[in-house]
Amino acid sequence: MTTAVVNANRELFKGINLRQKTIMLISCLSLLLIAIVVSSAFIDENALSTDFESKNLAPSLEHPFGTDWMGRDMFVRTLGGLGLSIIIGALASSISTIISVFLGLLSSIGKIEDSIVSWLVDLFLSIPHLLLIILISIGFGGGATGVIIGVALSHWTSLTRVVRAEVKQIKTQEYIHISQKFGKSKWWIAKNHIFPHLLPQFVLGTIVMFPHAILHEASVTFLGFGLSPHEPAIGIILSESMKYLSAGYWWLAFFPGLSLLIVILVFDLIGENLGKMLDPKKAHE
């Protein structure tokens, strides 16, 4: 039976080249993430209701991740937390990408603008990242908004650096010089000649930023900033589980963290494969 499946698989994949395989891998992984987000949006309220008869149950077939001290199913809570994390990560990394698009193009205009951008990058990198997020989220009054803004406003540095280096290289090209001789303004050149070249970088940069944003969001909520204890965020689930560690309820911490780890690995994989596809030098590896 198994050999038959393997053979069928081999037959199925025979006509597919590496590029198509990569695309298939990326779409499967993306589908998984979309499934998590969609199913977390449709969580039945009843599934999270408290049920003291079935509290602190170890993982079983009925409750694959066990239940917590209020009898809530940990699998459902984890799913909800992952969905929330992915949405916050998406929001934060899109905002960060927009900031780096703007700053990257700004740096292409002139020397003064360029040094302002690089100075801003240095300034943001000079404070430890986690502390920076805490600082910004306090500045915006804490809560979920504070955390989202904090994560969004602190992840643009690495992508901006990449974009700046790319811009510098593109600017030495002849067509840029010719365009300048034709009297086009610097902003026009940035918009029409440089921006299209940077588009793949931005797509890739957003996806690479994703896992960082999610990890930081989870860390900050774990420390107790931001989301209220009623939200099923992974950080909150894990910080709650700390109280029950000495009681031996290991599943409260183990499964939610492991699921977060898997989601982050999936994002890394998507980013890496997409990077391979977009980079012509690596496309045949």
Binding site: D122, L123, L125, S126, I127, P128, H129, L130, L131, I134, L135, I136, I138, G139, F140, G141, G142, P211, L215, A218, S219, F222, L223, G224, F225, L238, S241, M242, L245, S246, G248, W250, A253, F254, G257, L260, L261, I264, L265, D268
Partner: protein, 329 residues
């Protein structure tokens, strides 16, 4: 000649640091000033209070003075070494920072060294056995480590080694219920081991991946090919030509990781309730202790900057290849 150049270099860097610190201070002061959090409320906590008393306290603390005046007052006394009084610990901020930073530094330094050595060794092994099973195992291990949330790893370690096996204490840097004079050196070490291992795991992955890539690059160079032709093989070859070339960039990278180290320490200290600077930062943030938070931001900025500075010095003055390039006309 060389010392003159170093002097100019350090002068420039010091100037840059001063400008940076001014900007960091202004920016972080502005950020917390924007915050809608009420400092009087943060000080008194949940206590109920008469409006007149509150007004008095607001006047005493100068809540309603303009922001730039507040900043100048704060910066003025900060320059004299007075960072105000912490709202939650009710102690001078400088005292807290001194005490906390010492224990944080112990934790960070030990895990920094551990992660550096472990990461370097793993990277060398993976690079030497490039493409084999061992290489793949180390690579996968590093990928997973990079994706793992630090605080989750800390929780799992706590669960396995403290709760289930009982090898290490659950938290704090000294045993509970023992007078501070009676705490032995061994007690401190015992409480330090688990946090150190957890924190060092984070740094292992990046340094190992870097060392691996670098070593593979070096091993495919012409001079290694020539060395092979002379009959050098095995570990001797790697030791003579590989490690010498890889060590310096790896050490530089390790110094550049101070920012991540600090962030990791915040999380690890929180899980192990280790009384360091990171835990103080979280407490200050959660309970809006602005003077303490600002001081921690400044200290951590200095910490990160010193790491970058050392990396720069290694790059500019220690690396023999760069020295050689400069002496050429």
């Amino acid at each position: 000649m060389k010392y003159e150049k170093l002097g100019i270099f350090m002068g420039k860097k010091t100037l840059k640091l001063i400008v940076l610190l001014i900007f960091v201070c202004v920016a972080s002061f502005w950020i917390v000033e924007q915050s809608p959090i009420d400092p009087v409320r943060a000080y008194i906590g949940e206590m109920s209070i008469q409006p007149e008393q509150k007004a008095k306290m607001e006047e005493y603390w100068g809540v309603n003075t303009p922001a730039h005046e507040k900043f100048l007052n704060w910066a003025g006394s900060a320059l004299e070494g007075d960072f105000g009084t912490s709202l939650i610990y009710r102690m001078p901020v400088t005292d807290i920072i001194k005490e906390r930073f010492a224990s944080s530094l112990l934790l960070m330094a030990s895990s920094w060294v551990l992660s550096g050595i472990l990461g370097f060794v793993l990277g060398i092994v993976a690079g030497m056995k490039h493409g084999t099973f061992i290489d793949k195992v180390i690579k996968t291990y590093c990928y997973i480590l990079l994706a793992a949330p630090t605080f989750w790893l800390a929780l799992i370690f706590l669960l396995i080694f403290s709760v289930n096996l009982g090898w290490f204490p659950v938290g704090l840097s000294v045993p509970i219920g023992v007078a501070s004079g009676d705490v032995t050196f061994f007690d401190r070490i015992h409480h330090l081991i688990l946090p150190t291992i957890t924190l060092s795991l984070l740094g292992v992955a990046s340094i190992a991946m870097f060392t691996r890539e670098k070593l593979i690059e070096v091993m495919s160079s012409d001079y290694v090919l020539f060395a092979k032709a002379r009959g050098e093989t095995g570990f001797d070859l790697v030791k003579r030509h590989g490690i010498r070339n890889v060590a310096l960039p790896a050490i530089t990278l390790q110094f550049l990781g101070f920012s991540e180290l600090f962030g990791g320490a915040v999380l690890v200290e929180q899980v192990f309730s280790y009384p360091g600077l990171g835990q103080a930062a979280v407490a200050a943030g959660l309970r809006s202790d602005v003077p303490l938070l600002l001081a921690i931001v400044i200290v951590s900025t200095l910490f990160v900057y010193s790491g970058n500075l050392i990396a720069d010095i290694i790059y500019e003055f220690v690396d023999p290849r760069i020295k050689q390039q400069e002496t050429r006309p």
